[in-house]
């Protein structure tokens, strides 16, 4: 479903990402781990056509993301606050995003009802602009907006960051459910090895732009990763 070929990205002479080949199949849950500067966000930005690769490219359903807009229809993403329109209230933002994804008012209301538990009474009906929400609540808004319209592909950059423990658990359950019930292809990066091994069936470790591990998750994966990252 997602394919990266000969993908490289340089910043002022240094290669920050170099992926000769990587395929992510439909319905796969793909975890990306690595230390700061390993190239995780760069990779996600390349997938979402937010930066221009120095060579190669990313193909979704055999279409180069830089040349087609089609993938936007079924790809939900949240990388950072740059995805939030901070002077809107969460409700207005969901309305807007829902509208761009072709949802009706009723669909949007239904969606918000389903995510009531996820928001934990912190997001809706507070009469606050997104810019005035805490970073955890902003994260909830961003993740939920990415999930609107049940995308086929979901790209989340460190979604567990700044979430409270209950919401972390809710998010994990939610992601598992999306995978088993809707076969959503998920790309998730995280610094927390626990979370990512729990949610993802495949884990790729990036180091200074290179893929150094590509493993199927089993009961030993966490131990393996911990050993790898131990100094």
């Amino acid at each position: 479903m997602i394919e990266a070929k000969e993908l490289t990205k340089n910043y002022s002479g240094t290669t920050v990402l170099n992926i000769p080949e990587l395929k992510i199949n439909k319905g796969e849950s793909f975890g990306l781990v690595g230390n700061n500067g390993a190239g995780k966000t760069t990779f996600f930005r390349l997938i979402l056509d937010l930066i221009r690769p120095n060579s190669g490219g990313v193909w979704i359903n055999n279409k180069n993301v830089a040349k087609s807009n089609n993938w936007k229809l079924f790809t939900g993403s949240y990388l950072d606050e740059g995805f939030l329109i901070d002077f809107l209230t969460p409700e207005e933002y969901f309305d807007f995003v829902g509208n761009t994804k072709g949802l009706s008012k009723g669909d949007i209301d239904d969606f918000l009802k389903t995510y009531k538990e996820f928001f934990d009474g912190q997001v809706l009906g507070k009469k606050k602009y997104i810019r005035d929400l805490s970073s955890g609540n902003q994260m909830k808004v961003g993740v939920a907006a990415a999930l609107m319209g049940t995308p086929e592909i979901l790209v989340l950059d460190e979604p567990f960051n700044s979430l409270d423990p209950s919401t972390q658990i809710r998010l994990k359950n939610l992601l598992r459910k999306l995978k088993t019930e809707k076969q959503v292809t998920m790309l998730i990066s995280s610094h927390d090895l626990n979370h990512v091994t729990e949610v993802c069936e495949r884990i790729v470790v990036l180091q200074e732009g290179d893929i150094v591990h590509d493993i199927k998750t089993d009961k030993d994966t966490l131990k393996e990763l911990e050993d790898y990252f131990a100094v």
Binding site: L48, L50, I51, F83, L84, I85, L88, N99, T100, K128
Partner: protein
């Protein structure tokens, strides 16, 4: 400790991206400041020199003293709206073992280094040298100057205090505003007299120089007032600009909803303008901007050619659009990544910018119709420039906007705020204002000015007719530039 604050402040200003990247803007700004100082200085010297000729039948010193009161009333109002309150970004120091008092003293003393505090000196010093010293001994001249400086500083501190109170207790500010307004009204109806009052005050100081101690005490007490206020409010959330707690309901306009996604984006842009401080200041300044015509038209209607009127017409009917389109994408810099990944079609997105410009231009044109009172040709020229603005200049600006890759920080006011403006935004002004005049001039030269106007107007109409194809070209350009723009927007600040 103070030493560190000063070092940090210097680093902050010299390392800010504005300083490093926008050399041209800094030069332009520096030039403006220089010009203003020069104008005030020359004006001051001229007035001081010719004072006896301008006001022949009164004592020059008491006459001048009389004006000082008005100056302070005027400066007070102006500064209240224009002056940015200096705040050392105190947050990083609060958890460190730094004395609160040195933080506060630094913030307050720093506020003295304001451009507005120095400006009147350029006006007052020539008068002191050329007039006052003729009548009084040097020591008295010094006292007089010092008392004016003290009042300037008191005024400054009062502004700082009121602007801070605006956050904590807006009632005090409202009360003060009413007080000033009442004073001005009383003066207007001649119930009290500002000029007599200020003549009396400064006259007494000249006569009994030790009275200056009162002014010192006034300044100190406002300083102390500030000091204690800041001391008890030294929390970032209390000291900084009030966060908007309430949301305003711009309930989705029914008509916009029927337009589908285009309507949604228009509504989004309206909210953007209405809910951010910087854009809101622009809205508030719009009426003043549209009144500029009163400035130009009375003098210009008598002139023969249309050249200058075209210039003003472009400005009047296109100024608002210029502000909007010049930064068409950088207004939305903070969430540009979302725009790019969302399912919003780039061509529609750009079309919306054009539609809004059309609305804004039409609004400007309609509002400036009353200027027809200064002559029918103003209406004619404004109509022509309106067509040219919307049919030609809008596209030039939109195309140029793709070169701006600095995200706008919308949380600060718009006055004196050049954050996010790039050289391209200034350079584009040249074609905007010169293009229509260049087109018009040959016709004027050969004695057919009206044909020239018609050609300018027709160019506008043809741009309107071919808007679809032109917008396609701009969309292509947008695709070409989007990575560069997104990358620039991600670097906040």
């Amino acid at each position: 400790m103070i030493k560190w604050f000063i070092i940090h402040q210097f680093k902050q200003s010299f390392r800010s991206t504005i300083w490093q990247k926008n050399l041209i803007i800094n030069i332009i700004l520096g030039f403006f400041v220089f010009i203003i100082i020069l104008e005030v200085l020359v004006g001051g010297i001229y007035l001081a020199d010719k004072w006896q000729e301008i006001f022949p039948d009164s004592d020059p010193v008491s006459k001048f003293n009389g004006f000082i009161g008005y100056y302070f009333a005027f400066a007070f109002i102006l500064r209240f709206f224009m002056q940015n309150v200096p705040v050392l970004t105190i947050q990083p120091y609060l958890h460190l073992p730094v004395k609160k008092s040195s933080l506060i003293n630094y913030v307050l003393v720093k506020s003295f280094l304001n451009f507005f505090n120095f400006l009147p000196l350029f006006f007052v010093i020539p008068f002191a040298i050329l007039q006052l010293s003729q009548f009084y001994p040097l020591s008295t001249v010094w006292v007089w100057l010092l008392s004016i400086i003290l009042l300037v500083l008191s005024n400054n501190l009062l502004i700082v205090y009121l602007k801070k109170q605006l956050v904590a207790n807006s009632k005090i500010v409202a009360f003060f505003g009413l007080f000033i307004a009442a004073l001005l009204l009383l003066d207007y109806f001649k119930l009290i007299s500002f000029s007599e009052l200020s003549t009396a005050i400064f006259g007494h100081i000249i006569e009994y120089p030790y009275l200056i101690i009162i002014l010192v005490l006034i300044m100190l007490s406002i300083y102390i007032l500030n000091y204690f206020f800041l001391k008890s409010h030294l929390y970032p959330e209390e000291i900084n600009i009030k966060k908007e707690k309430k949301t305003n309901a711009i309930t989705n306009i029914k008509y916009l909803q029927t337009l589908g996604i285009i309507g949604e984006i228009i509504a989004l842009d309206i909210k953007l303008y209405w809910r951010n401080k910087r854009t809101k200041t622009i809205i508030y300044m719009t009426p003043i901007f549209l009144l500029y015509g009163l400035f130009f038209y009375p003098q210009e209607t008598s002139s023969e050619g249309f050249g200058f009127l075209i210039f003003i017409g472009i400005f009047m009917t296109g100024g608002l659009m210029l502000n909007y389109l010049n930064y068409a994408f950088s207004w939305e810099g903070r969430y540009f990544d979302y725009i790019l990944t969302s399912n919003i079609d780039a061509e529609k997105y750009i079309r919306v910018k054009f539609i809004i410009s059309l609305l804004v231009c039409t609004f400007s044109f309609v509002v400036t119709i009353p200027y027809v009172l200064f002559g029918v040709k103003i209406l004619l020229i404004n109509f022509i420039t309106f067509l040219f603005n919307i049919g030609v200049i809008s596209f030039v600006l939109l195309y140029n906007a793709t070169f701006n890759k600095k995200s706008m920080d919308l949380s600060k006011g718009a006055t004196f705020n050049y954050q996010g403006m790039g050289a391209s935004n200034w350079l584009v002004m040249l074609p905007v204002f010169l293009l229509p005049i260049f087109i018009y001039f040959p016709f004027n030269y050969f004695g057919v000015p009206y044909t020239g106007l018609i050609v300018v107007g027709l160019l506008g109409i043809s741009g309107l007719l071919f808007n679809k194809s032109i917008l396609k070209i701009i969309t292509k350009q947008f695709y070409k530039r989007k990575y560069k723009m997104a990358e620039g927007f991600r670097e906040k600040g």
